[in-house]
Amino acid sequence: MSGSFSSLNNALGALRYNRVVMDVASSNIANATTTGYTRRRVEGESVGAPAQPAMWSRYNNTGEGVRASALERMVDPFLDARSRTEHGSLSYLQTRKAVLERFEAGVGEPGDNGVSAALAEFKAGWHDLANNPGTEAARSQVLGRAATLVEAIRIQSRNVEDEAAAQRTHLETVVSEVDTLAADLAETNRSIAVGSFNGTDVNALMDQRDQLAMRLAQLTGATTQQRADGGLDVALNGVSLVDGASANRLTASVAASGEVSFAVVEPDGSAVAVGPLRGEAGALADVLAVTLPGYSAGLDEIARQLADDLNAQHQQGYDQLGQPGGPLFSYDPGRPAASLAVVVTDVSGLAAGGVPGATLDGSNATALAGATGVGDAYQRLVNGLGSEVASVRRLTANQAALTAQVDGSREQISGVSLDEEMVSLLSAQRAYEAASRVMSTVDSMLDTLINRTGLVGR
């Protein structure tokens, strides 16, 4: 038989349990909009007979009430991993998109101020010179337009260089942020291991752990592996970055060609090369190694072709003084677009004439107007850039939709629903009231038993 006061104990357990439920609900409500917070749920369990009290003993009670068995953090680790992967891809695309769109804005095509327009004006200038080979105005107009064309090409070349320099700095920032995050994550892993060993509530630490892992995934596309002690191991393309409580460092070196190589440096100083990354760092590496050098090479080819075509034709003509024409443009073969310059400084040096001697023949000027087909190459270059930006933009939109979908599924499990918390508050309140009623009922029963029993005949 159970003792007289066991019901009081039951009620006390219920009061305690419902207080915990209300505490957790209020904490959930408080953190409803906190970034990275996952909702908690109290797992209650009814206290019953022990499995095997003792060899010859018997459990006579009908139940010992309730107790809070665990404080569960509502997460799905697989969905978390999926979400990190998608966020890594999204941030890869978003970074590429941002860089490419900024770069594209500097191209200025189609319009009245781009390289294409400068080239058309340059050609028209030669025609005008062919019409009036003797006039100073037509000659200086050609020189002026040649300078404009050269400047337009060099501005684009400088844009590429500036963008590459900016993205190199950006990459350094990303790498140092990765190092900080990796160190923080290792420290968090250690705290979680210690905390779960001595039974402290580590849920807040786990929230922090997941947020660090998410940021690492966004920066590098890192993959994670859950440890038995609750920590997260992080690997970059198969190379370990964070292993439990110890963190390695990431380094990135950019070659002159723009090629980016990543390596993970262990605490003892040994470095392991890492393959291509995703995330922000991967996007920057791609931009630095492929996109910008590709555009730059196209621009160089255009500058070289322009200079070679026009120089060849110009040298076939005769200038205003009847001397054979010299080269019109000069460039450094190593970096043609950046070093393109007009050699002819004196207007009389323009070889408009097609016959020897000082004449007013303009046939070479006409030939020079049609000397180069570089416009087509430039159109292809711009088309290529435009297609790449358009494709990255489409991919980003798709990836954003996919990421939002995965985040939605995650929020469905981990997010705080205010209605739900209100309901659980309400039911806990009612249960609390009922448990109090149990107490007063037992109390009045005992009152009857103690004060009103055995008074017969008194």
Binding site: A120, A358, T359, V382, Q412, G415, V423
Partner: protein, 296 residues
């Protein structure tokens, strides 16, 4: 029990996302309307960008060809009118020579008068042969000097062609070769006139007859040069007409590629505005109620 949990955060995130998408579309239309262009950067449509760049290049070329042709028209018009007056003056010299043949035994004074007039005609023809267009002697070839013939009727120009490009790879000659129009060096129109005036003055009838024949040849040369100039002027006129048509066609297609279809864009803008307002309204409604409103 299984059910889809929907949290307030999810709804606010989704609403926000919807609002962003809607506002983005609105901004895109706004940009198109305020710039008046559909193509604002290559990625808006890479294919159209290439087309637009091509059309722009062709447009610039066509404009330049029109300028070249107009310049050529100026040259040919000038040459045409010069040759016309030279023909009429040469005809007058022939008349005088005929008079000289008929009046072979006339008085010295009247012969002298004929010779004087021929000489004046010669001077006038030389100055016509030095006619300039934009400061260049039109019969002087590619000379840098200011005249084609000196006062003795000797050619001082530099033989050469003056061409104008009127279409891709098409050039038209806009000057006239002096030797073709006025005869070769040493036996040109002015030399003929000089010997004619000499023959008239001296009463050398045979010389005057020879001069008459030479003038007939000179006339032929001038008229055939005139016919040649006329046919070239026709060619250039047709080219000018064609460049005008081309320019219009190119402008139209450029505008079709680059510019915004205003009525369509305005209707789209209106629709997007309504969609955005609806999204705002829905968001405001969705965010308001919660269980709290119904609990004591």
């Amino acid at each position: 029990m299984t059910f889809t949990r929907v949290t307030q955060n999810m709804m606010s995130q989704r609403s926000l996302q919807g609002l962003h998408v809607s506002l983005d579309r609105l901004a895109k239309l706004q940009e198109q309307l305020s710039t008046g262009r559909v193509l604002n950067r290559p990625s808006d449509s890479p294919t159209d960008t290439t087309a637009a760049m091509r059309v722009r290049a062709s447009l610039a070329e066509t404009k330049q060809f029109a300028r070249n042709a107009a310049d050529g028209q100026g040259w040919l018009t000038q040459i045409d009118s010069t040759l016309q007056s030279m023909v009429s003056q040469t005809r007058r010299a022939r008349d005088l020579a005929l008079q000289g043949v008929n009046a072979g035994s006339a008085s010295t004074t009247s012969r002298e008068a004929l010779a004087l007039e021929v000489e004046q005609l010669r001077d006038s023809l030389i100055s016509l042969a030095n006619t300039r267009y934009l400061d260049r002697p039109v019969f002087g070839g590619v000379t840098t000097g200011t005249s084609a013939y000196d006062s003795d009727g000797q050619y001082v120009g530099v033989p050469g062609q003056v061409d104008r490009a009127i279409a891709e790879g098409v050039k038209v000659r806009v000057d006239v070769d002096a030797a073709t129009a006025f005869g070769p060096q040493g036996a040109n129109l002015f030399d003929d006139l000089e010997s004619l005036s000499g023959a008239l003055r001296s009463g050398d009838t045979a010389g005057v007859r020879a001069g008459l024949d030479a003038l007939a040849t000179g006339m032929d040369r001038l008229t055939s040069a005139l016919a040649d100039v006329g046919s070239r002027a026709n060619r250039i006129d047709r080219a000018v007409q064609r460049t005008v048509d081309d320019e219009l066609a190119l402008r139209t297609s450029l505008s079709e590629i680059e510019n915004v279809d205003l009525p369509k864009a305005l209707v789209d803008l209106h629709l997007q505005e309504m969609a955005y307002q609806a999204a705002l309204g829905a968001t405001a409604r969705v965010m308001q109620p919660s269980l709290m409103d119904f609990l004591r």
